[in-house]
Point group: C2
Chain length 457, copies 2
């Protein structure tokens, strides 16, 4: 730690902004196992994925060796509209906790999508446009990814169809309205616009849908439409690559003040925020230049790391995707309906899964009322009303800071504040009215999910 006074917010100038994404796989001694083709169970080739994803993204997905990948100028120009995101010293939260720890958070919510998702959305649309693609499909659950992608598509004048989990589209009509304002077509999923959607509706006409099912519909539409591709907002390696902008900016900002984080904490659903935040710091660790700890925080109601299996599984319910080796609760797992917000995906990024399996990342889970407690304290101290997802990281950081209070340690804690909770006020209302409940899946619940894992060995 230098003696330089740390401002409340550390911003980078445009000149200081990163010109490269950092590809953490290049520094991993052992890479995660390859994707398997769902039909042949053989490792996927890039050619297998071209009908689904843009070429450049497939190449990024398979690139496990290039450490730095230049961010194209067009994307850097877009980034300038809402980045750099502030790195904030949580002076007020520290004071409220009475901790000797220093707490920093990287705030990704200062854009209309309200989250970090825009970092990858713009990249994916940029490449699609460059390759002559004229329309994209995707899925969205809580709506952050769909909003981010709508913004990027509006900017690049790209057609977009968003399959939105039906129950979310009913609970969050305003999320739908934002996407429509940006020109996207939003279809509640399951829908009658796809074969898989019609099949699911025939089996269960009243289903509220799921992320896995919306993914299946989006992929089906992409592969059956001319000059159309599918884009995904988390889980995959190329998404984590784009999200490394978060960690890269963080590291430059901390380095300016000679600050070295001891603990880095992120919420983990599909893993893109966590993966992006920790990327360059993990690089230092993998190269023996840091002994920082990394903590993934997940909801107790969807505990893929803390209670899942490290196994090959499909990314979707319709079993259309390649098989990914990841921590998973089984593609048929559904979090209980009282679960608020995102972080409800059955699996976890293969990169994060591998790092976790190698003991390089720790994981913990929290019940949602304790998460909203942390969120409310944070909102009162730091002003920002956090997203339920992000609040998992807040809770993790608070617990670390309180541990420091006990031990007297002056640790430097960094966490990712991925977004704002402006579209999650129904959940805040439930919390304020004390009608919010917790649910921890029973072992039997988990067994039902694991039973949906594909049998391969």
């Amino acid at each position: 730690m230098s003696d330089k006074k740390i401002p409340t917010k550390i911003y980078l100038t445009e000149d200081e902004m990163p010109r490269y994404w950092y590809n953490v796989r290049a520094d991993m001694k052992e890479k995660h196992p390859p994707f398997l083709h769902p039909a042949t169970l053989k490792p996927c080739t890039p050619e297998d994925l071209y009908p689904v994803f843009c070429k450049e993204l497939v190449e990024q997905e398979f690139d496990q060796t290039n450490r730095f990948i230049e961010i194209p100028e067009g994307i850097r120009e877009f980034y300038k509209m809402y980045r750099p995101s502030p790195l904030v010293r949580a002076y007020c939260l520290e004071e409220a906790l009475g901790t000797p720890a220093e707490i920093y958070y990287k705030f990704e919510g200062n854009n209309t999508s309200g989250s970090h998702k825009l970092n990858s959305a713009v990249a994916q649309v940029y490449y699609a446009k460059k390759e002559g693609i004229t329309s994209l499909t995707t899925e969205t659950g809580a709506g952050q990814w769909g909003t981010a992608l709508s913004m990027a598509c509006a900017f690049y004048k790209m057609k977009l169809t968003v399959y939105m989990v039906k129950v979310s589209s009913q609970q969050k009509p305003y999320r739908k309205a934002v996407m429509e304002t940006y020109g996207a077509t939003v279809i509640p999923s399951p829908s009658d616009t796809t074969q898989i959607g019609r099949k699911i509706l025939a089996e269960n006409p009243t289903t509220g849908g799921s992320l896995g099912c919306a993914i299946s519909e989006a992929i089906e539409t992409a592969v059956t439409t001319d000059k159309c591709r599918y884009v995904l907002g988390s889980v995959l390696d190329h998404v984590i690559l784009h999200q490394s902008i978060i960690g890269q900016e963080c590291k430059i900002a901390l380095d300016k003040y000679g600050i070295t984080p001891d603990v880095i904490i992120g919420c983990a659903g599909g893993g893109s925020n966590l993966g992006g935040l920790i990327a360059p710091f993990m690089g230092d660790k993998l190269n023996g230049k840091s002994d920082a700890r990394f903590i993934a925080v997940e909801p107790a109601s969807c505990p893929s790391l803390t209670r899942g299996k490290y196994a090959y599984d499909f990314g979707d319910t319709g079993k259309m995707t390649p098989l990914l080796k990841m921590y998973t609760l089984g593609n048929g797992f559904m979090p209980s309906p009282n679960h608020a917000g995102g972080l409800r995906y059955h699996g976890m990024s293969p990169i994060i899964s591998k790092l976790y399996d190698d003991g390089l990342i720790e994981a913990r889970s929290y019940e949602q009322t304790s998460v909203f407690d942390a969120a409310t304290l944070f909102a009162k101290c730091e002003g920002i009303l956090p997203a339920p997802e992000s609040s998992h990281a807040i809770k993790g950081a608070i617990d670390e800071a309180l541990e420091c209070k006990k031990t007297g340690e002056k640790k430097v804690i960094l966490f990712g504040l991925t977004g704002t909770g402006y579209f999650d006020l129904a959940a805040y209302m439930a919390f304020n009215n004390k009608t919010m409940t917790d649910y921890i899946p029973t072992d039997a619940d988990l067994e039902r999910g694991f039973a949906t894992l594909p049998k391969i060995d």
Copy 2:
């Protein structure tokens, strides 16, 4: 204009942030006429206002001579949590319009209250706390001010009661939820908690309420409760003083790059954003150092400047406030129910009114569908989903820029983007679905409002 490349966003460092609010009244050759006591019709004294407002705020209200007023360190520390706000060069909007003009906007929406209102909220709560006040009351319409004040009160551990216009509290339950998350008590107005509320309910049990009526209830509660004061989010001189932080930051940022605005545009409801944005630039104009133009933009449905009278009027429906000389539609004027968002106050800041009457400010009005057209274009180009209020300034800026396109002039246009539209999506939905309508008050509508003006002379 210097040759230095203008970044997309100009941020100030903490060291560059203003230490002083600028009091534009000090440079006005002729001040606005004094407030009149509602009972005696004599000019108010500070003592008249002490039961209602904090002492320091009353002194600021009466201070027409001190040019610079130091921002207390406590307030500057709070400002650091969400300020400086970015000054953005709207490169993408310029390109979309094909204009030779340079467009800049000062974005005040990067905080949870979603608007500039927090700038005065924190100041007012800070002084109240310092004077031993233990609780505050206020009113809110669209909810921005109530949210901002809730945030400031949570930070300073001050009790807060917000009288929220009943129809707004029904239409915007999430706004209410945010305020409650920050610990405020939100009461739909008119309510049975005050005499004036009970009187209004007795006369009209099904009324949806109005801002003027909510103000009356909040004042009644403040003056009848021990160690309680009333706070107001716009209109008054001390609010405009606090909001000068917007203009001060803007001017420092522009000066860094040698940029001089030719036209400065703000939306105008009560006038606090416009007054704060233009303050230091108007100072230059008053001192003969600038020939910039200033444009106030208001909704055609609530046209206090463009169609109102410059007259003494009450600030509230209950006729409890002092009389202010201002442009007004009459305290009984109500915008038609199809009007979306804020900017629905019957009057206008006495400072803005005086500057307008002196010909130093221009005014224009727009119908709301044209405003939402501008908002949607802006959202697509610049990423940010703007508040309906702010979108009036966007529309004004676009029209100026298109005028430059015709004439070939390279004007520098600066406008205030006061906030985000995340809580206004019902209005965006109506616009997207083409169910949004326009309404321009007829002369008869206006006459009904003017009939409620007090008869004094």
